[in-house]
């Protein structure tokens, strides 16, 4: 917020505006009394929350039970569990092709694989980095900042930067050619594109989790390490007997947070893989929801909402676990 002192003119203008804003608010205070002021102060926030957060949540569930192509609930016929039945009808869940909504199950399996690899890789990289940054190492602040930098970038920018890096004429292929490896169009290969979606995700987010784990490491009392040094405990023993057990709760919180975020993979993968390609190799659940609802002229809002509700239930379960862990940590 700009300070009124910035320039005299700006200050006077601000005073003038605030005088106008202040008058009705002070009038309200004189009329209703000081006790009611907090409600007035909360009003803008709560009105916006009500309209744009609570109302959608309330509608979300109802929406999933309606069909048709109308946008408003009143224009939509009630279809009971039809949308859910359509999503869940399947001969063999392991083979998405045998399901009525094969795209949905392809997305579910792609997401599960992504979550598995991404959570493991991010956790490992973030933990190692946090452990290293927790050592009395020179230029620690610089490295911490460096690893954190990608977290602040936009997913579209990251998708494009990596798309260029992995391009047929990109730097990676130039490097491989120097080593005598033939060039590869990474993003058109099913295996490579999946691999690089994970790489890009780790690259993007690991700094955030490193920061959280580092905060946890720095909260471990120093005298424990001093005691271990007096006992001449090996570094490995110190790591497994002191550091990791005491970091345990933080690790669990990071694990759940990572899972919650990984399930919702969309933006950077969408840009990187040109909308989930090659084919449907990188189409994930959020992309399925987006495409059903907004991607084509079909506007299958009911089906998209049903998929949202299913994903929401998974996220809710993960959140409840996280809250329980958080409470346990506090006590």
């Amino acid at each position: 917020m700009s300070t009124p002192k910035a320039t005299d003119l700006g200050g006077r203008a601000l005073d003038f505006v605030m005088g106008i804003v202040e008058a009705p608010i002070n009038g309200f205070e004189r009329l209703m009394g000081r006790k009611r002021m907090p409600y007035l102060f909360l009003a803008p926030n709560l009105i916006l929350f009500g309209i744009f957060t609570f109302l959608p949540i309330a509608i979300a569930v109802g929406y999933a039970f309606t069909g048709g192509t109308g946008l408003f609930v009143s224009d939509r016929p009630f279809v009971g569990f039809d949308n859910f039945r359509q999503l869940l009808q399947c001969e063999d869940y392991l083979r998405p092709g045998s399901c009525r909504e094969s795209l949905f199950w392809t997305a579910v399996w792609n997401t599960l694989w992504f979550v598995g690899f991404n959570v493991a890789a991010t956790l490992l990289v973030a933990l190692v980095t946090a452990l290293i940054l927790n050592r009395a190492i020179a230029a620690r602040g610089f490295f911490r900042a460096m690893f954190f930098y990608p977290v602040l970038l936009s997913p579209v920018v990251i998708g494009l930067i990596w798309k260029w890096f992995l391009d047929r004429n990109g730097l990676l292929n130039a490097f491989l050619q120097m080593l005598g490896v033939p060039p590869e169009i990474f993003l058109l290969d099913v295996g490579w594109s999946r691999f690089f979606v994970v790489v890009v995700s780790v690259w993007f987010h690991m700094g955030f989790y490193t920061l959280i784990l580092l905060a946890g490491l720095q909260a471990i009392p120093k005298d424990l390490y001093e005691a271990a040094a007096i006992d001449a405990a090996s570094p490995r023993r110190t790591l497994f007997r002191i550091t990791l057990p005491l970091l345990g709760p933080n690790l669990l919180v990071v694990l759940i947070l990572l899972m919650i975020r990984s399930v919702q993979i969309f933006d950077e993968a969408w840009v990187l893989t040109n909308g989930g390609g090659p084919g449907t190799a990188n189409s994930f659940i959020v992309q399925y929801i987006y495409q059903m609802a907004f991607g084509s002229d079909l506007r299958l809002f009911g089906l998209a909402s049903a998929a949202s509700v299913l994903m929401g239930l998974v996220l809710l379960a993960l959140t409840l676990i996280q809250l329980r862990l958080g409470r346990k940590m506090e006590s």
Partner: protein, 352 residues
């Protein structure tokens, strides 16, 4: 030179001075490799964004942006391209008049007499360091990028301003008053932290259509103004402001709003700064919600515009990368100057 001033001693300083173990070397290797992994794709995109269209797809690529040099030669209307040519074992710079099969006709640019016929195998183009500023100016003038940029700046600025005001007011109420429903409201607001946009995006879109904000910049500003993160951050900070200050102001007959505006808000400046930084980053980088809400091109933000642009011009990487860099630059500047605030803000709240 004393121990404390030696750069080597400084760089290798560890817990036990003088002894560098295997762990230290491995740690350094990890950190340096990690830093390279972070920087290389970004720097590479940046360098590429200055390459001329003809150069950007060259493989193997050159590190720095270069371009073939052209020169006006007296006697020829169009500028001719310069090539290094082997003439009698001597490398010379010559201008190419035309090319016929495997032979090219070259003239000496400073002394254009009769053209010499040269084998194309022996010649290579003369390249100089060239910065293709048209990669930046073209999208801003010929395409809609100036509009996208304006929209992004407008959304970021207005949404951040509103976020600060609306959430500071709520945080003030929740930290400095005792009233009925206080706790319930706080829990209600904080609980929305757990609800991701991806779960409610379809009904949220419906609501935005319902209130008539679809395909409008206000449709991406207003729904994101009330922020649980913002309320939480500011409330925790305002709790540390002593109530005596407020009581004293009340004795002086200051109105409640004046107390908020003149006393509490200035004292909350550090937390407001952190929220402002976060808010700017959220809005500038936001993609999924604007993608859903905005449908006409003149309303696109930079991120949505970039995404649309790369779909349409999949080969014009020089333009795409330049605009990518334009979108990345403000974030990088913010980060360079406010790195400490951002990292401590995130470590303190566990949010981003």
């Amino acid at each position: 030179m004393s121990q404390g001033l030696s750069p080597i001693a400084f760089l290798t300083r560890t817990r036990r001075p003088g002894r560098i173990g295997v762990t230290d070397i491995l740690s350094w290797a990890w950190l340096v490799l990690g830093t390279l992994a972070v920087l290389i794709p970004v720097v590479w995109a940046g360098l590429s964004s200055f390459k001329p269209a003809a150069e950007i797809t060259r493989f193997p690529p050159t590190l720095l942006p270069r371009a073939a040099v052209q020169q006006t030669v007296p006697g020829f209307n169009a500028p001719l391209s310069l090539w290094t040519v082997d003439v009698d074992g001597q490398p010379r710079e010559m201008a190419m008049v035309r090319r016929i099969g495997l032979k090219a006709q070259m003239v000496d640019p400073s002394n254009p007499g009769t053209p010499v016929s040269v084998d194309v195998k022996t010649m290579s183009p003369v390249q100089r360091l060239t910065i293709a500023t048209e990669n930046y100016t073209d999208p801003l003038t010929r395409f809609d990028f100036l509009t996208f940029l304006k929209n992004s700046v407008f959304v970021t600025f207005v949404a951040t301003l509103l976020t600060l005001i609306v959430n500071a007011l709520a945080a003030f109420a929740l930290s400095k008053y005792r009233f009925r429903g206080e706790k319930a409201i706080f829990v209600l607001i904080i609980s929305t932290l757990m609800i991701p946009l991806t779960v409610v995006m379809v009904p949220a879109y419906l609501v935005v259509v319902g209130v008539g904000l679809v395909d409008s910049l206000w449709g991406i500003i207003i729904p994101t103004v009330a922020s649980p993160t913002g309320v939480f951050l500011l409330r925790q900070y305002m709790l540390t402001i002593p109530d005596e200050l407020i009581e004293a102001a009340r004795v002086d007959a200051a109105s409640e709003f004046r107390i908020f505006w003149r006393i509490v808000l200035p004292l909350t400046a550090p937390a407001l700064a952190v929220l402002a930084i976060f808010s700017v980053l959220w809005r500038w980088n936001d993609f999924l919600w604007p993608l859903i809400v905005l449908s006409s091109r003149e309303n696109f933000t930079l991120q949505v515009g970039l995404n649309a642009f790369q779909g349409e011009f999949s080969v014009q990487w020089n333009y795409i990368l330049a605009m990518t860099f334009l979108s990345l630059a403000p974030v990088t500047v913010v980060f360079l100057f406010l790195q400490k605030y951002i990292t401590t803000g995130i470590a303190g709240t566990g949010m981003k």
